[in-house]
């Protein structure tokens, strides 16, 4: 296995992006990543592109092939990866494996989603297909409903408070306010969070991410070649990819996501680090409660202590481990297929000391991407090269 480096990243802003279609956004992010890497396009040997609902929300299939075509790179293998909201994380990991295993020297990875073009009810229904259709989703269950059940259970089981969970939203909106790529650029107060519109009790509007458009991309190569292209390569220290139950029907304990636990243990083992070594995290806060659960499942805090960790400021910028300095999905936005690669974009900028909310001296960074209510997860550990 060869060591892998990230030598260029690109991202569109996240938000309701007018006059930008799904292919155009993916092309823009890829163009920026390629430009930053200084790798000529004819050297790129493969594209992996994460996307969840392009067929349904943007009426576009064959997405990866069309994107390489528009980039003037037609001919190379191009693969769309789908794992619900973890589609981007899967694309990134496949790119890393392609280089680690010696199949390729230069790989482009990306993620994209176009969501604002469809009515909210259609977006909701499209996202709900990440669940098991035969089991749960036909009842009208959507992700706010599923995470409403999960949040209630976490509060009952561990005494996690409404205020602790709301503070995740306060933290992430505060951080997103400083991120030029973020969809929401305005801080919110705890009062505003806990009195915002009820969505699926106890989940309220400010516990949720917005509907977003956006794309992100990265260029990968073997670490040994990285310095030919950039003075600041970022090293991929370890990756993990795991699956878990698709339904609440199958989960004996809905307050933990076995896929996150397993993917993170795989990534930590490959990176030869412990959770306590991580300085900065971009994780999958698809709801406020999901951030708390992820910090526990990633081993950053003991099970049941994630709420207290937020309240103590341990996950704030300048805390024990900065969680979602980009603003996270809740504030930065969540174009689902792009999210996993956008997390890599943010962390590469952290490790190059270029981030909007820079974690000073960050050496080890972790990205956590989650699909559905935990049906799939990817975890990536990055470090300075």
């Amino acid at each position: 296995m060869r060591d892998v480096a990230i030598i260029g990243v690109g991202s569109t802003p996240f938000g309701k992006l007018e006059r930008q279609g799904i292919v155009e956004m993916a092309v823009a992010a890829c163009r920026d990543a390629l430009a930053e890497s200084r790798v000529p396009r004819e050297k790129i040997q493969a594209l992996y592109l994460g996307n969840f609902a392009g067929e349904r929300l943007a009426s576009q299939g064959s997405l990866a092939a069309i994107v390489v075509n528009r980039l003037g790179m037609s001919g190379i293998p191009a693969t769309k990866t789908e794992g619900a909201c973890a589609s981007g994380g899967i694309a990134f990991r496949l790119g890393v494996l392609g280089i680690a295993l010696g199949l390729y020297d230069f790989v482009l990875v990306g993620g994209v989603e176009k969501m604002s073009s469809a009515p909210t009810a259609e977006v909701t229904a499209a996202l709900a297909t990440a669940g098991d259709e035969t089991a749960e989703m036909r009842t009208g269950l959507t992700f706010p409903g599923a995470f409403g059940i999960i949040m209630r259970e976490h509060m009952a089981r561990y005494g996690t408070t409404r205020a602790q969970i709301g503070l995740v939203s306060v933290k992430n909106h505060g951080l997103g306010a400083a991120n030029p790529k973020a969809q929401f650029r305005k801080p919110v107060t705890l009062d505003e969070v806990v009195s915002s519109r009820l969505v699926a009790d106890p989940i309220r509007l400010f516990d949720c991410p917005p509907i977003s458009d956006g794309a992100a991309a990265a260029v990968l190569c073997p670490l040994e070649m990285a310095r030919d292209f950039t003075a600041k390569p970022v090293r991929v220290l370890g990756t993990g990819h795991a699956t878990g139950p698709a339904t609440l029907w199958e989960s004996a304990d809905v307050t933990t996501m076995p896929a996150t636990v397993r993917a993170s243990r795989e990534a930590y083992a490959a990176a030869k680090i412990a959770p306590a070594d991580v300085d900065v995290v971009e994780l999958h806060d698809c709801f406020t409660i999901a951030e708390i659960i992820a910090t526990e499942d990633l081993g950053l805090f003991p099970k049941g202590k994630g709420g207290a960790a937020v309240e103590e400021g341990w996950t704030a910028l300048g805390g024990k481990v900065a969680v979602n300095p980009s603003g996270g999905l809740i504030s930065k936005g969540h174009p689902v297929g792009a999210t996993g690669v956008a997390q890599i974009y943010e962390l590469v900028r952290q490790l190059r000391d270029e981030a909007a909310n820079q974690v000073r001296g960050a050496e080890i960074a972790l990205a956590h991407n989650l699909g559905g209510t935990g049906v799939v997860s990817t975890v990536t550990v990055l470090g300075r090269a």
Binding site: E122, T134, A135, G145, G148, M151, R197, L248
Partner: protein, 142 residues
């Protein structure tokens, strides 16, 4: 704004497209059932047409009790897919140790409680494209 949909959005509950369709047919008769593997006898939940333990794809139907207790729930006000109105009460109901995800009906949302006893009251949803009725698990207070 309406979308033209040429496909049934829920084909996996139609007799024509799933060998587990009897789960829904029996729901329509007021019975909650699941699969028992004909190879090793293991009872699955949710119903499964393939046993990952003994790799048999033969199964028979096993009746489950028509009552259970609320193990977890949420009241969803907004964010429901097209065709659904809030508030809607979703619950995980413990039925003989199985966690049955379903909708609670005929209940005031503010009166739902963990541990509440509920009985099966299947809910008729949109017919399949051939006009055959389709049902989903739902429960109401005892």
């Amino acid at each position: 704004m309406t979308y033209f949909r040429a496909v049934d959005p829920f084909p996996l509950e139609s007799e024509r497209y799933t060998k587990l369709h009897e789960f829904y047919t029996r729901l329509g008769q007021g019975r909650l059932v699941t699969t028992r593997c004909a190879g090793c006898g293991r009872v699955a939940w949710p119903p499964r047409g393939f046993c990952p333990e003994c790799r048999s794809d033969r199964f028979e139907w096993a009746d489950l009790p028509g009552e259970g207790t609320v193990a977890a729930f949420t009241v969803q006000e907004t964010g429901l897919p097209a065709g659904f109105d809030g508030p809607r009460v979703f619950a995980v109901v413990d039925v003989a140790g199985h966690r049955v995800f379903s909708v609670l009906r005929e209940v005031a949302p503010e009166k739902v409680a963990i541990g509440q006893r509920v009985r099966l009251t299947p809910m008729r949803v949109d017919d399949d494209p051939e006009g055959k009725p389709r049902w989903l698990p739902a429960f109401s207070p005892v």
